[in-house]
C-alpha cells in the first residue's frame, strides 16, 4: 500500500531535486508543474510516471486528473444530538484548489478533521488516492494540515518546526537542511530559522505553518481558515501568496473558510455547506451565476428573490407569473409547468429604465425608489415593488447612468434584466437569514 502514496507529484519533485543536485545547478527551487491540468510530460521527470498503479490497472485513456480525496456518504455525529456532518459525498481531484465555504457551525472543520484523521466518521468512507483511510491515524495519512491558530511548537525553533515532519520520517540531516531552506525560501522567511515561534509576527507564523506542512510533500494539504487571524490587508496579500504557492507546488488544497470573497478568488471549486450538508458544489462563477438554493443565493453575494408559478413557455424560456399582472421569463431547463418556484436575479444584472419603457427581450418590473446610496463605483438602489417586496439594484456609475441622472427617493423606475440572468432556486431545507438584500460587503463582487 505504501507505493500508492508515491504519487506523481512526489516523483516529479524527487526527480527534479536529484536533477538539481546532480548538476549542481543554480535554481534554488525546482518544483513540479501543476499536476492534473492535462499537461502531459512537461519535463523529463513528468514523463517517467503517468499515474501509477490503480489507474494503469483501470486501463486506457482516462483523464489525467485523478481523485485525490473521496468522501462517500460521510456522516459525523457528536453524541445523539449534534449531527455536524450529514451524509456528504465529495471528490476532489489532484492539484485542485477546493474550498469548503459556509457559516459558522456548518461542519467545515469537522469535515476537514475527518480527512486529516483527527476525527472518525460515524458512518461513511474516506479515501485518499484510492486508499481507504477512514480508520487510519493522522500520522499514517499522506495529508498535512495548516491549523487555524497555526499550532507551531513553541519549544522548537522555526527551523525545527519546519523540519519536524521530515525528522519523524527519518530523512537525512543534509536533505532536511536543504529542503527546509527551500521551504523557508518559498514562504519568504529566509533567515528566520533560529527564532522561536514567540518571536515572529502572526503573518510570519502563518507562513511557517504552511512551510511546516508543505515540506512533507503531502498528497493533500488541509487548511482551516488559515488567514482568519490576520488583518484585512495581510489577508488579501496572503490569499494571492497561497494561490501562487499552490500553483507552484501543484498539491491539492482543501481550504476551509467562511469568507465568500476568499473562497471565490482562490478556489477552482467550492462546496457551500449549510447545516452539515453541501448545498451546492461547483466553480465560483457557477455558484454565483446559478445558485441552486436560496441559501447559496443569499450566502454568496446578494440576490433578489421572488416567488411565482410557471405558466407556459416562450421559446427557450419558461414564463413565470408572479401575480395576475406580472410575468417574467427564465431559462426553461429544470422547471416544470405549473410548478411554484422561487426565482432570483443579482442586483448588478438589473438596469434601471424609464418607467413603462418597452424592452421586449427583457424581464421588466416597475417600482418606486425607496433608497439610493452613491458608493463611488456604483449606486445602490432599494426599490419597492408592488406586492410588497423590495429589490436591490447596483448601477455602475457610467456615463450612460450619469446621463439618465441619479434617481431619487420616490421616483418611479423600471427594472430590466435579461431572462438569461434569472435563476431558479430550491427553497433551502431551512431558510437562511440574509437572502433578500444585505449591506456593503458584497458591493465588491459587482
Amino acid at each position: 500500500m505504501r507505493s500508492t502514496f508515491l504519487r506523481p507529484a512526489n516523483l516529479a519533485w524527487k526527480a527534479a531535486s536529484s536533477y538539481e543536485s546532480a548538476t549542481d545547478s543554480v535554481p534554488l527551487l525546482i518544483l513540479p508543474q501543476p499536476v492534473g491540468t492535462g499537461a502531459k510530460a512537461v519535463d523529463g521527470a513528468r514523463s517517467m510516471d503517468e499515474r501509477s498503479g490503480d489507474s494503469l490497472a483501470a486501463g486506457g485513456a482516462e483523464p489525467v486528473s485523478a481523485i485525490d480525496v473521496r468522501l462517500v456518504d460521510v456522516t459525523k455525529r457528536f453524541g445523539t444530538q449534534v449531527t455536524a456532518v450529514d451524509r456528504i459525498d465529495l471528490e476532489v481531484t489532484d492539484g485542485e484548489f477546493f474550498s469548503l465555504l459556509g457559516p459558522s457551525g456548518c461542519g467545515k472543520t469537522t469535515t476537514l478533521r475527518m480527512i486529516g484523521g483527527f476525527e472518525q466518521p460515524t458512518s461513511g468512507l474516506i479515501e485518499l488516492q484510492g486508499q481507504d483511510v477512514t480508520w487510519l491515524p493522522p500520522y499514517k495519512r499522506n495529508v498535512n494540515t495548516v491549523f487555524q491558530d497555526y499550532a507551531l511548537f513553541p519549544h522548537l525553533t522555526i527551523f525545527e518546526n519546519v523540519a519536524f515532519g521530515l525528522r519523524r520520517k527519518k530523512t537525512g540531516g543534509a536533505e532536511i537542511r536543504r529542503r527546509a531552506a527551500e521551504m523557508l525560501e518559498l514562504v519568504e522567511l529566509r533567515g528566520y530559522d533560529g527564532r522561536k515561534p514567540g518571536q515572529i509576527s502572526g503573518g510570519q507564523a502563518q507562513r511557517v505553518a504552511l512551510a511546516r506542512a508543505l515540506i512533507n510533500r503531502p498528497a493533500v494539504l488541509l487548511l482551516d481558515e488559515p488567514l482568519g487571524a490576520l488583518d484585512l490587508k495581510l489577508r488579501k496579500q496572503m490569499q494571492l501568496e497561497l494561490k501562487r504557492i499552490q500553483q507552484e507546488v501543484g498539491i491539492t488544497f482543501i481550504y476551509v473558510t467562511h469568507d465568500q470573497d476568499e473562497a471565490m478568488t482562490m478556489s477552482d471549486r467550492i462546496a457551500v455547506m449549510h447545516r452539515g450538508r453541501f448545498e451546492q458544489l461547483g466553480r465560483p462563477q457557477d455558484l454565483y451565476e446559478r445558485p441552486r438554493t436560496s441559501f447559496v443565493a443569499g450566502f454568496l453575494g446578494v440576490s433578489n428573490l421572488m416567488t411565482g408559478r410557471i405558466d407556459g413557455a416562450d421559446g427557450a424560456y419558461a414564463i413565470v407569473r408572479l401575480d395576475a399582472s406580472t410575468a417574467l421569463r427564465l431559462p426553461r431547463e429544470g422547471v416544470s409547468d405549473g410548478a411554484s418556484v422561487q426565482l432570483g436575479v443579482r442586483p448588478e444584472k438589473i438596469r434601471l429604465v424609464g418607467e413603462g419603457s418597452a424592452t421586449a427581450d427583457l424581464n421588466v418590473l416597475s417600482g418606486r425608489v425607496r433608497d439610493a446610496s452613491y458608493t463611488g463605483v456604483s449606486t445602490q438602489y432599494l426599490v419597492d415593488i408592488p406586492g410588497g417586496s423590495k429589490m436591490t439594484v447596483y448601477e455602475q456609475n457610467t456615463a450612460r447612468a450619469a446621463a439618465a441622472g441619479l434617481r431619487r427617493k420616490g421616483d418611479m423606475v423600471g427594472l430590466a434584466w435579461s431572462p438569461a440572468d434569472t435563476f431558479v432556486v430550491q427553497p433551502g431545507r431551512t431558510e437562511p437569514a440574509p437572502s433578500r438584500y444585505q449591506e456593503a460587503p458584497d458591493v465588491r463582487r459587482t
Binding site: G117, L152, P154, F164, R168, G198, Q199, R212
Partner: protein, 288 residues
C-alpha cells in the same frame, strides 16, 4: 491615584513592602541569628559564647557525612518515584479526566486534609510487624515471621514518596493541562506516532512542571525527618533527624545550626546545577 501612575517604581516597592518586611522579620533575621548560633562554642549548662568557630563546619560535615549522603539518596529515590507515579497520574487527569478533572484533582490533595504526622503514624501502625497488613499474612504463613516493613530504608522512602506525591503531581498537572491540544494534533499530523509525540512535544512542554515538581519534592524530602523518625530505624536516620536531635534532644545548638547551613548550601548548589542542566531555555519556551 495619579501619584501611583506618576511613580510606577515607587508604587512597585510600596506593593512589595509588606512582603519584604515579613520576610525580613521572619526569615532573614532568624537566618542570620542561626548563622551566629552556628559560630558559638560552649554548652547549655555552661552557657554559649560567640567565638566565630568556623571549624565546626568541616567537623560537623565529617561527623555526619553518612546522614547527608543518606538524605541525598533517599530524597533522590523518593523524588524519582513521585515522578514515576505522579506523571502518569497528572497525564491521565489532564488529558483523560474529562468532567471528572476537578474531582480527581481534589482526590490528589485530599490527604492534606489530615495531618502529615498523623498519616505517617498510621502507616506505622498499619505496616507494623504484627499490624493490619502483615499480621494476617504472617498468620497464614504467607510471610516469614521475621519479615518486616517498618524500620527499613524502604519504608522511609515509601513514606516520603507518599507524603510528597501531591507536590509532584500538581505542577505536572498544571504544565500538562496547559498544552494546547492542537499541538498534539499537529505532531500527529506531522507523522509523530504516540511515543514520538510524547517525546518531542508533550514532555518538552511539560518540562517546567517537571522542574517545579522535582524541586518541590526533593528539597523538603532532603530535609525531612518525620518519615525517618516514624518509619525508619537508627540505621536509616537522615540529616533532618540529626538536626532535630541536636536542637531538641541534646541542645547542641551550634552543630545543629551548622548542619542546617550545610544542608541549605548543598541544596542551593544542587538546584543551581539542576537548573543549568535542564536548561532555562526549555523552561521558558524561548519566548523571552
Amino acid at each position: 491615584m495619579s501619584w501611583f501612575r506618576r511613580h510606577p517604581t515607587a508604587t512597585a516597592y510600596l506593593l512589595l513592602a509588606p512582603g519584604i518586611a515579613y520576610l525580613a522579620i521572619f526569615y532573614l533575621y532568624p537566618t542570620l541569628q542561626m548563622f551566629l548560633v552556628s559560630l558559638w562554642t560552649g554548652t547549655v549548662e555552661a552557657g554559649y559564647q560567640l567565638t566565630f568557630n568556623f571549624g565546626i563546619y568541616p567537623q560537623a560535615l565529617a561527623q555526619y557525612s553518612d546522614h547527608f549522603l543518606r538524605s541525598l539518596l533517599y530524597g533522590a529515590i523518593a523524588t524519582l518515584l513521585t515522578f514515576l507515579i505522579g506523571f502518569p497520574l497528572a497525564y491521565f487527569i489532564a488529558f483523560r479526566g474529562g468532567r471528572y478533572k476537578s474531582l480527581l484533582l481534589f482526590l490528589v490533595i485530599a490527604p492534606f486534609f489530615t495531618s502529615f504526622l498523623l498519616r505517617t503514624l498510621s502507616w506505622r501502625i498499619i505496616f507494623a510487624d504484627q499490624g493490619l497488613a502483615l499480621g494476617p499474612l504472617k498468620d497464614l504463613d504467607l510471610l516469614p515471621e521475621e519479615f518486616r516493613l517498618t524500620a527499613t530504608p524502604s519504608a522511609v522512602i515509601a513514606g516520603i514518596t507518599y507524603n510528597f506525591l501531591p507536590f509532584m503531581t500538581l505542577p505536572l498537572y498544571v504544565a500538562l493541562e496547559r498544552i494546547p491540544p492542537n499541538l498534539l494534533e499537529a505532531a500527529e499530523d506531522l507523522y509523530a506516532g504516540t511515543w514520538q509525540r510524547f517525546r518531542r512535544v508533550t514532555l518538552p512542554l511539560a518540562l517546567p512542571g517537571v522542574f517545579a515538581g522535582t524541586l518541590l519534592t526533593f528539597i523538603p524530602a532532603m530535609g525531612d525527618f518525620v518519615n525517618a523518625e516514624l518509619l525508619g530505624s537508627p540505621q536509616s536516620q537522615m540529616i533532618g533527624n540529626v538536626i532535630q536531635a541536636r536542637f531538641l534532644r541534646v541542645s547542641d545548638y551550634p552543630t545543629g545550626a551548622a548542619l542546617s547551613f550545610i544542608l541549605m548550601a548543598a541544596i542551593l548548589v544542587g538546584v543551581f546545577i539542576y537548573a543549568r542542566v535542564v536548561g532555562t531555555e526549555e523552561l521558558t519556551g524561548g519566548t523571552s
